[in-house]
């Protein structure tokens, strides 16, 4: 794990400010994600965690601050960021409910195909290998999937973009305990395959176990950061996010 923190920086965010109208949602957030590392963002509801991911994805305008992607400025348009290897699994999943599982996955490669990568659609086989359940349901409409299958499809769709950094917004939201374990197994598997991960997760205990590094955001500011194992022992983090000691 310590090897990951010395790896070259994939994402480097400095002093990021984001506003909704007059309300400042992020007031100067800095964070780094090394290639192949897992960083988790912890914080209460309304702290600005989803705002952070949406701003990094290019879905929200940045008021000020700097984002460096693999040592350079990231492309401006969302689809170009996807093509550059930055993929988001949104909090509400945002699946195309009236399309089949297979078509949902193929759309995940849209930006890649558009950027000229002809073989991008073939990646569906590796996604099916990782999620055999999705292969079984390939012809089924996404709207008829159970909660766990939906989350797998949302992750699988992001993987079709062959991400270098996968941003997961609340992957275990609304999932039964057995499925939550599956999801964390998948996250470890992706890390082993070399994908860096930026993780927002309600289950802070599991998130701190899987992550290398963690930052705590409260009301738009980073209030604490450090190696995940250290933050897991921090009394303030324990009291607010872990409980039970």
């Amino acid at each position: 794990m310590s090897a990951a923190t010395t790896a070259p920086l994939l994402l480097d965010v400095r002093d990021l400010h984001v506003r909704y109208g007059r309300v400042e949602a992020l007031s100067g957030v800095s964070l780094q994600v090394p290639a192949g590392g897992i960083v988790t963002v912890i914080g209460p509801n309304g702290a600005g965690k989803s705002t952070l991911l949406n701003a990094l994805m290019g879905l929200l305008p940045v008021a000020s601050g700097e984002i460096r992607w693999a040592g350079a400025a990231p492309p401006h348009a969302v689809e170009d960021r996807v093509a550059a290897g930055l993929c988001l699994v949104p909090e509400k999943r945002e699946l195309f409910a009236s399309m089949t599982v297979r078509d949902n996955l193929l759309l995940g490669a849209y930006a890649r195909v558009r950027a000229g990568e002809r073989r991008a659609l073939d990646r569906i086989d590796t996604v099916f290998e990782r999620f055999p359940r999705l292969r079984e349901r390939a012809g089924q409409l996404a709207g008829t999937l159970s909660g766990g299958e939906r989350q797998m499809l949302a992750i699988g769709r992001a993987l079709m973009g062959n991400p270098r950094l996968l941003m997961l917004d609340e992957p275990s939201l609304g999932l039964a305990p057995l499925i939550v374990r599956d999801i964390f197994r998948i996250i470890r598997g992706l890390r082993d395959a070399g994908v860096a991960i930026l993780l927002i997760e309600q289950n802070a205990r599991a998130a701190l176990q899987v992550a290398d590094h963690a930052i705590v955001i409260e009301t738009g500011n980073v209030v604490l950061q450090g190696p995940a194992s250290e933050l897991a022992r921090d009394p303030a983090v324990t009291a607010s996010y872990l409980g039970g000691g």
């Binding site: 309304g46 989803s50 299958e149």
Partner: protein
């Protein structure tokens, strides 16, 4: 005055400046244009309510204008009635026809209403043009001038004040209405009809209300038109004008009252200007202005899709709701039943979708003052069961008893009257209304004031009480800091807690909570558990679906476990947790 206050006062200042127009030597033609703008604006104001807020599209407003104008023309010429009588008759007839048309069509969803209004508009146009008594396509002429108690309004500049007086009245009345108990319901219709039904609200009634009010305004506009023009014929009441009224409201900014006036003014002035300029420019006549006009409007809507006034309003922002004054009477709460009585009973409840059995003969009960948790894998049928209990979905078989009555087959809004409150797994709120207003909808059944009381300002005490109650429940769930924010700007976990506050505003005996703790952090879950325990102490019962076992363990008296639509276990949490069937289906072996 702050910048925002200035921006809010600006439209009234502009209106006052407009009032001086006839007296500062403006050419009569300007006054004529202003008169038409006012007449169109009244119709467009109705569409702000109907289309902008209730989400119902009508292409047929010109037909209602026609009813108003023809009623006035006929009664004034054939029966010699004065303006007060013709106004009453115009409003009565438009209201009656809107009621008949609305009862038939408003319940239909989607494209049916717009299609019906088109058909209505076309048929009325030909009816006007073919009835002998109405002068066929030549129409009626020789309408006597507006004369009321010695006031004779004949010239354009005299009628100007009458017309713009009605515009100002319409703006004031609609503004009062939109900021009231019935108005909030109308504003939430577009995005929250299912949620409103679960708050006990008959949404079809409020759709009809919006339809009738919009038609009444169109009728008044027709009445004014008859006295301005002193003659009527079918042409200005055809479908083309019906589309144009809708266009005015859209260009000005659907959902913004001032936008209706801006849109009416813009369309009228630009069209008039193009009609003058284009033939000179092109050296030939023809309806070129229509083409240029269409292109200009497409460009405008591309640049400002929320309309002209929408773009302005976004910068001004929301005015914070005033805190209820000291001494506001709290809403009375009804007593809770004594603890331990059977409150909710499910008997072999079954629901099938085609061949799939989603809920398979489930039976269990909830006693008053009890917290019961329903757990099970994703797709086990828990949310379907919730929808069966709360009247959102009909049962295929079985019985539901609530509060001593058999209630299966009851609609959601009837169950709300028995004080059953619920939240939704996929949050249902109105994102562009404030947090406070969203929660006030939950207290709808605890107020009585209707449209007339709201328009005349007789609802203040009740509004204060409703606001007090909503703010109290929001503080209780920990959202006291966010009252004036847009509900859509809250984080997802906060939106879920907003739904709990909204359900509490119903003064419920039973709360159905669908994954209330999803997305909450540890300390937020603890706060929620504390609140639910306190509610139990007050005599409420809670049935909740939840996946966080730690949350459920310390809270619920009893767990009911579902898998594949079937009841597989029930009992105290510690016991259920050890059940091998539950571990295999749901929990996994203990680590």
């Amino acid at each position: 005055m702050s910048a925002a206050a200035w921006q809010r006062a600006l439209p009234w200042i502009a209106l006052a400046a407009l009032a001086a127009l006839p007296w500062v030597g403006a050419p009569p033609y300007w006054v004529t244009l202003a008169n038409y703008i006012g007449i169109y604006a009244i119709v467009a104001l109705g569409l702000v309510l109907l289309t902008g807020h209730a989400g119902l599209t009508s292409f047929g407003q010109s037909a209602f204008v026609g009813i108003g104008a023809y009623t006035t023309a006929y009664l004034a010429t054939a029966a010699g009635l004065g303006p007060l009588a013709t106004l009453a008759a115009s409003v009565a007839l438009t209201t009656a026809s809107a009621l008949v048309l609305g009862v038939i069509t408003v319940r239909l969803s989607g494209h049916y209403l717009p299609l019906c209004t088109i058909a209505w508009c076309l048929s009325l146009f030909y009816a006007f043009g073919n009835i002998d008594a109405l002068g066929k396509f030549d129409g009626l002429t020789g309408i006597p001038a507006f004369e009321l108690g010695g006031w004779r309004l004949e010239q354009g500049r005299e009628l100007f004040y009458l017309i713009w007086g009605f515009v100002a009245l319409a703006v004031l009345a609609l503004r009062k209405l939109l900021d009231s108990r019935p108005g909030r319901v109308v504003r939430a219709l577009k995005k929250g009809a299912l949620m409103e039904e679960s708050c006990g609200i008959d949404t079809a009634r409020y759709k009809l209300l919006a339809f009738v009010i919009a038609a009444m305004l169109a009728g008044i506009s027709g009445w004014l038109y008859a006295y301005l023009q002193r003659a009527v014929n079918p042409t200005p009441f055809g479908l083309g004008y019906g589309i144009e009224y809708l266009f005015m409201a859209v260009v000005g900014g659907l959902g913004h009252l001032w936008g209706a006036i801006v849109g009416a003014a813009l369309l009228t002035l630009v069209k008039d200007w193009l009609q003058g300029v284009l033939p000179a420019l092109l050296g030939q006549t023809g309806n070129f202005e229509t083409i240029v006009f269409g292109v200009a409007m497409i460009l405008l809507l591309q640049r400002a899709p929320e309309g002209l006034w929408g773009a302005v309003a976004r910068r001004v922002g929301r005015r914070p709701a005033p805190p209820p004054p000291a001494g506001t009477a709290p809403l009375p709460a009804q007593p809770q039943p004594p603890a331990g009585q059977p409150l909710l009973q499910l008997r072999a409840v079954r629901r099938t979708f085609g061949g799939l059995v989603a809920v398979n003969d489930i039976s269990f009960g909830v006693a008053s003052g009890e917290i019961v948790a329903l757990i099970g894998p994703n797709g086990a049928g828990k949310s379907t069961l919730f929808n069966l209990v709360s009247g959102v979905l009909p049962l295929s078989a079985g019985e539901v008893h609530f509060d001593g009555r058999r209630v299966d087959g009851w609609a959601a809004r009837r169950l709300a009257r028995l004080r059953m409150g619920r939240t939704f797994q996929h949050v249902r709120l109105v994102p562009d209304m404030s947090v406070l207003e969203n929660v006030m909808i939950g207290a709808h059944l605890r107020g009585q004031r209707g449209v007339l009381a709201s328009v005349f300002g007789l609802n203040r005490a009740e509004e204060d009480s409703l606001r007090l109650e909503a703010a109290r429940q929001l503080r209780r769930v920990g959202l006291g800091e966010h009252l004036d924010q847009d509900a859509g700007a809250l984080a997802l976990g906060q939106q879920r807690t907003l739904e709990i506050a909204r359900a509490l505003c119903l003064d419920p005996v039973l709360l159905l909570l669908d994954e209330p703790a999803a997305g909450l952090r540890h300390h937020e879950k603890q706060a929620l558990a504390t609140l639910l325990r306190q509610l139990r102490q007050e005599g409420l019962s809670v049935l909740l679906v939840e996946h966080d076992m730690d949350f459920v363990m310390g809270l619920a008296e009893r767990l009911v476990v579902m898998d594949f639509g079937t009841h597989i276990a029930e009992g105290p949490p510690a016991e259920v947790r050890r059940d091998p069937k539950v571990q295999a289906a749901y929990l996994g072996a203990d680590e």
